[in-house]
Amino acid sequence: MIRDITIGQYYQGSSLIHRLDPRLKVVGVLVYLISLFCFRYVIGFLVAGLFFALVLHLSKVPFRYVIKGLKPILFLLIFTAALNLLWTPGETIWKFGILNLTREGIYKCIFMALRLILLIIGSSMLTLTTTPNQLTDAMEHLLGPLKRFGAPVHEVAMMMSIALRFIPILLEETDKIMKAQMSRGADFESGNLMHRLHNMIPLLVPLFISATRRANELAYAMDARCYNGGAGRTKMKPLKYNPRDYKGYAVLVLYVIVLILVTRTVAI
């Protein structure tokens, strides 16, 4: 189950979306994420949803694969939805003790849930179609101006890409340690929250030790391959805008305009 997490995973492919410039994709995701918080009517979700569907279709990533990324936040999703549903003040529909179901609550709950879902699956499209190295390059370019103020842009970007690369490895390892400890009688599934947290110690300690050891070895391996920070480095895949990227930016602008027009004129 732990390997089902698709956030931060790359889905191999060569679709149009895969080939787009990563800078466009990063900017696109940012615009899309901000746009999700800029409307007050349900119709906005339709526009955002359609935009997402278009990107998804072009990327040729199976929808089921993207949806799997929601699994780990399912609990959070239900929790926030329930909170919003039952504790929002307003026009009461149904009341039971401290639980107070209101019309506003229902609206808020739907909004929150849709927002969260679109947020997660939308941003996972970025990592699903962009290799971590491309992502790093894009970040480095977009944050480039900060270098002038002494910000370690290259180093941070490198750290991010390495973190992404190690997610599946560490997940696999967690799975392995969990099974090993379970076979020796460890119990991760019963008891109250405190009890469960306490039971996590035999999982976390070996995981931390192994992660530190991996980090040490990786540092050696990077040193051995002449890694010396950002200075004097060339790029195997330098970022270069193609005509299709300018079209991509045009589509993005179009999306924002449509969203503004629709949410201004249709008030549902």
Binding site: N133, E217, M236, P238
Partner: protein, 285 residues
């Protein structure tokens, strides 16, 4: 000709410290190691766990600096850190755990990491990556994620990553220890071919005796010292000594030895199953 690696009386000490940072003990991981390696040779360094062979390997790549003694790699002295990058360009290193040395999420990007670091122009990086991947036979996997490859395939990608930097010498620091027999054979075959065809010096650090049969020269290390050296045949003939250093001789060599003890007259320098079979057949005739 100047040797590519010239180590003289190399000593390396690790100091253990208590919580206040006071030195509580000193471990001598290397104790007077001397070694000279000619360009183009395939050298094996054998040793059990804790014999200091990995510490020695890390010196050759300027990842560690000697406490005492001198070490020249490609004519450059290791010690002060001014030449580190040049030394690492000359000597590439492949490590034990394939997962912990692959940096990128796509095979070709990982192979390109080294050349990127040393500032190779873009078009040349692509050429080098393609060449290196073809050499190790992983070209058709260039767009794959390393996570989907087997251990042996990952190690071959790691070797390609080093090859793309065009070093004069490659060190394999127990690079086969975590692989299954099939993967191990693929890695050893690849590295032997690279040694022959590209004339790249190879230093193979291992505790599997089977892997050193193809080496030009073998060093055996124990407790930080070089305790035996010679041609593989001569080393294997001294199986009693090898066992003292916690090293097991290959199966064929062992069988031949036991047969000799039983009074069957077999030559002392049998290396592998093929030679053993030949020798036994000759006995019959």
């Amino acid at each position: 000709m100047q040797p590519i690696i010239d180590a003289k009386d190399l000593v390396h000490e690790y100091s253990r410290r208590d919580e206040e940072g006071n030195v509580t003990g000193i471990t001598r991981a290397l104790d007077g190691v001397s070694m000279q390696v000619k360009q183009g040779d395939l050298i094996a360094v054998l040793g059990a766990n804790g014999s200091g062979k990995s510490t020695f390997a890390k010196h050759l790549n300027a990842l560690l600096t000697p406490t005492e003694g001198t070490l020249y790699v490609g004519g450059m002295e290791c010690g002060d850190h001014t030449k580190d990058l040049d030394i690492r360009k000359t000597v590439g290193m492949v490590f034990q755990n394939p997962d912990n040395q692959i940096i990128a999420n796509v095979v070709e990007e990982d192979v390109g990491f080294g050349p990127e670091n040393i500032g190779v122009p873009t078009e040349e990086i692509w050429e080098r990556v393609a060449d290196a991947l073809k050499t190790v036979g992983m070209y058709e996997y260039r767009l794959n994620s390393p996570n989907k490859l087997s251990g042996g395939q990952k190690q071959r990608v790691a070797i390609a990553g080093i090859l793309a930097m065009k070093p004069k010498c490659i060190i394999l620091d127990e690079s086969t220890a975590m692989l299954d027999p099939g993967g191990r054979k693929a890695v050893i075959d690849t590295i032997t071919r690279i040694n022959k065809e590209e004339n790249i010096t190879v230093i193979l650090i291992t505790h599997y005796m089977e892997e050193v049969t193809g080496a030009d020269y073998v060093y055996v290390m124990d407790s930080g010292k070089v305790v035996m050296e010679g041609m593989p045949r001569d080393i294997f003939a001294r199986s009693d000594e090898l066992e003292e250093f916690r090293l097991a001789v290959p199966e064929a060599v062992r069988v031949a030895m036991l047969l000799r003890e039983k009074g069957i007259e077999l030559p002392k320098d049998i290396l592998d199953a093929g030679e053993l079979v030949d020798a036994v057949m000759k006995l019959q005739a």
